[in-house]
């Protein structure tokens, strides 16, 4: 297509590139800085973007290995970062698997079946999803306190409680999957039902295999949401050994015990896998963000 171009286009193009690169430099500066800080000596030292005497001190501590300094003193790791990371991953994996399972079956019913109260339930879910759980933390705490007296693995200060609490946030995932199911022609399932398959079989053997991409997206979205969840975990978990990364990480930056270098290494170590995973999946995630839920 022949587009009408103004004359000064070349000059503008250069300006655009320059502007974009400048902006990116500004945006990426904090992230580069953290990587640089993680290789610096000590927790207070300041220096250039490229440290003059790079050291692995903070990295060693972040990985849980005691570090021997040049003068022979041994520094113990301040916090069990790897354990926190493992807690986060464990909770997020189980939560997102449950969320995926339950929201898929729900989305199937919403997409394919007719039943009483369908529209109000769907809309109600969207509305209630906007209420932040931070505001009902007192009630959530009381709920798990009660549950824990009868079912110990669901009590306060257990991972079970955090996992189960995450099941409140399925509405957006249901909407996303429902939107995808509706884009798939129902005739195949109908044919299977005519041949005598039950509704469940039609869903499980026909629709589900065709929906693997969206299920992957929802799983990853749920996983990232769970890993970064802060308020509920901060109230439900207490022991240092049971904290998730999101709750534990801030302990590095208390004014009384300011471990800037150690934090930097721990942050890069734990943030990098999630960042890379997100970037790798960004295309599908963006599709999920715009396709599901609130459609214009």
């Amino acid at each position: 297509m022949a587009m009408v171009q103004p004359k000064s286009v070349k000059y503008r193009l250069w300006l655009t590139h320059l502007g974009l690169l400048g902006f990116i430099a500004l945006i990426v500066f904090p992230l580069l800085m953290v990587i640089s800080i993680s290789f610096r000596e000590g927790n207070f030292a300041t220096g250039a973007l490229f440290p003059e005497n790079p050291t692995l001190e903070h990295w060693s501590l972040a990985l849980g290995i005691p570090y021997t300094q040049d003068d022979g003193t041994v520094v113990q790791p301040p916090f069990p970062v790897l354990l926190w990371l493992w807690n986060s991953i464990k909770i997020a994996l189980i939560s997102s698997a449950l969320i995926l399972m339950l929201s898929t079956t729900s989305a199937y019913a919403f997409a394919r079946m007719r039943f009483g109260g369908k529209a109000p339930i769907l809309k109600g879910m969207l509305i209630f999803q906007m209420f932040p759980p931070v505001l009902s933390l007192v009630a959530i705490y009381a709920l798990f306190d009660q549950l824990g007296q009868h079912v110990p693995w669901l009590g306060v200060n257990t991972h079970g409680a955090v996992i189960v609490a995450s099941l409140g946030g399925m509405a957006l995932h249901i909407w996303t999957i429902k939107g995808y199911f509706e884009s798939i022609d129902a005739s195949l399932e109908e044919a299977a039902v005519v041949d005598g398959a039950t509704t469940w079989q039609a869903f499980f053997h026909i629709l589900l295999p065709m929906s693997v991409p969206i299920l992957a997206v929802v799983f990853i979205l749920a996983f990232i949401t769970c890993v970064t969840e802060y308020p509920i975990a901060s109230v439900l978990l207490m022991d240092v050994d049971r904290l998730t990364l999101a709750v534990g990480a801030q302990q590095y930056l208390y004014p009384q015990n300011y471990l800037w270098g150690d934090f930097a290494a721990a942050a890069v170590l734990s943030g990098l896998p999630i960042t890379l995973m997100f970037l790798y999946c960004q295309k599908w995630i963006v599709g999920g963000l715009t396709a599901g839920g609130v459609k214009g």
């Binding site: 503008r12 193009l13 409140g168 214009g296």
Partner: protein, 519 residues
């Protein structure tokens, strides 16, 4: 009769490996019965502990489950039941419960129920009689306490086994009936002091003895007895304690309260306090204004940055788009709790890299964390950094939908890029964007994690009786009232939360109307 019955259908073929129908039905009923038995046990146990709200929740959830999984007509509901139940238990119930707390005086000082407080007072004892020396002895059945009551004789308690319980006293028998070993040294008594403190011994006459110091047991009497009208009468002084159902405390004859308090229904008191008490109303209004400003400005800034970038990336002549795209959404990919803490360190007034840079370049070191205006600017900068990639992604998607020939026509008329942006792009984007902008506003209105991890609400507002900071949002303010050490005023927090619920509900409703969701 039925032609289809003769055809080998998938269901019939699979019958060879599925369970026999009656067995399957039996199994289903078995599962249903066990589930219900367990659920009913839980409900009854909660009811017995007077946790009516929780018992009711259990009843509703299990009742719905039974209905849905037994009734054939509710077949479709079986699929949605787990999600709906999850929402009911972890979103809607806590919401209602919080609203309920808002009408009580539930707080750190009024934590228990009235029955619990009454029981607490009835468990109090005072020294009312002789003191007797005791010794601890080992015996084959367990350690026993030997008490020398002088002229009345020497007595030995039952073995001290199991958890100590002040409600069930250990009986004592004359020493002659029991074989005892040597007395244990005092250090063993010291070691078990906490346990012994909880033990109550009952003499043959029914008199109760409790430990008094390390060497003696003494006759202890309950401090209060229950009168028929619900008052507590002191056995020591004869004074009456009357429950004050307005304040949630027992009150003595001078009108002084006797802690601990219990939670009572106080109507609109908490809401009235927010509106009338100047030391709460002032900070509340200030925080409310800042919350609205913060959420609004965040939406404007992130949208502005995202829209401009999306327009630049949309230009066909720009090369290297995949690179730009990945770099530009990088802030979105890093977990928020990490990047917020990174900024907290970088903005640190003393050793932060940002102040070092500003110091070398311009010779200034702004007080990012102690000056309210600077703290607010910092929060907006950080939140724009965190939030613009989302807007960028949304705008990039929506820009595809604008027909190219609009720009073609405007180029013919000699329009500048700015004209294009303001006259063509923005008017066409704003309608589909509106619900997303409202959602973003609502999200930032309640952006608890950002404030908590970055400033914790500080610097503090001077003259506030509740923990309140100049950068606190309503949510973090509520959280601090409820959970910060000096606070624990759950009821006030719940009342403010209820107000926020109404605002959020209005936003959610507006959002739903504007986005015209098709079900």
């Amino acid at each position: 009769m039925n032609a289809r019955a003769e055809l080998p259908s998938p269901a019939m073929m699979s019958r060879s490996w599925t369970l026999h129908p009656t067995l399957k039905t039996g199994l289903r009923w078995l599962v249903w019965l066990t589930f219900n038995a367990f659920a009913l046990y839980l409900v009854v146990a909660l009811y017995a502990q007077r946790q009516l709200a929780f018992a009711l929740l259990g009843l509703v959830v299990t009742g719905l489950a039974s209905y849905v999984f037994i009734n054939r007509r509710a077949y479709a509901h079986r699929y949605i039941y787990p999600a709906v139940a999850g929402m009911l238990v972890f979103v809607i119930f806590p919401l209602l419960y919080t609203v309920g707390i808002g009408f009580t005086n539930y707080s750190g000082s009024n934590l228990l129920s009235q029955e619990q407080v009454q029981q607490y007072h009835l468990n109090q004892t005072f020294l009312a009689g002789e003191r007797y020396r005791f010794t601890l002895h080992a015996s084959p059945e367990g350690d026993r306490v030997r008490i020398d009551k002088g002229e009345q004789g020497v007595f030995v308690s039952e073995p001290l086994t199991g958890e100590p319980d002040p409600q069930t006293p250990l009986a004592m028998r004359p020493a002659s009936e029991v074989e005892l070993g040597e007395a244990l040294p005092l250090r063993d008594v010291i070691k078990r002091r906490n346990e012994l403190d909880q033990r109550v011994l009952a003499g043959p006459g029914g008199d109760l003895l409790r430990m008094y110091g390390l060497r003696e047991f003494a006759a202890a009497q309950p401090l209060y007895r229950l009168a028929e009208d619900g008052a507590l009468i002191s056995n020591k002084t004869g004074e009456r304690l009357v429950p004050d159902l307005e304040r949630g405390f027992y009150v003595d004859e001078q009108g002084e309260i006797v802690p601990p308090g219990f939670s009572v229904f106080v109507g609109m008191d908490n809401f009235a306090k927010v509106i009338t008490d100047p030391s709460i109303r002032g900070p509340f209004l200030q925080i409310f204004v800042w919350t609205v400003a913060f959420a609004g400005l965040t939406v404007v800034f992130t949208l502005a940055v995202g829209l401009v970038l999306a327009n630049l990336l949309q230009w066909e002549l720009v090369r290297g788009k995949p690179f730009y795209r990945v770099m530009l959404i990088l802030p979105y990919a890093v977990p928020a709790f990490i990047s917020i803490l990174v900024f907290r360190g970088l903005f640190n007034q003393n050793f932060g890299e940002i102040n070092l840079l500003l110091d070398t370049l311009f010779g200034i070191r702004p007080d990012w964390f102690s000056d309210p205006t600077l703290a607010r600017s910092m929060i907006l900068i950080v939140n724009t950094w965190l939030g613009y990639p989302y807007m960028l992604l949304l705008c990039m998607g929506l820009l595809q939908a604008i027909p190219k020939d609009h720009y073609e026509a405007s180029a013919m008329d000699g329009a500048t890029p700015l004209d294009n942006l303001l006259r063509i792009t923005l008017p066409q984007l704003i309608k589909p964007l509106m619900p997303l902008l409202i959602a973003s506003f609502a999200f930032n209105f309640n952006n608890f994690v950002l404030i908590t991890l970055l400033t914790r609400g500080g610097p503090d507002i001077i003259g506030a009786t509740t923990p309140a900071g100049t950068t606190d949002l309503l949510v973090s303010y509520t959280y601090r009232i409820a959970f910060q050490d000096s606070g624990q005023n759950f009821a006030l927090a719940a009342a403010i939360a209820t107000m926020i619920f109404m605002l959020v509900g209005a936003m959610a409703w507006l959002n739903l109307k504007l986005s015209k969701v098709k079900v």
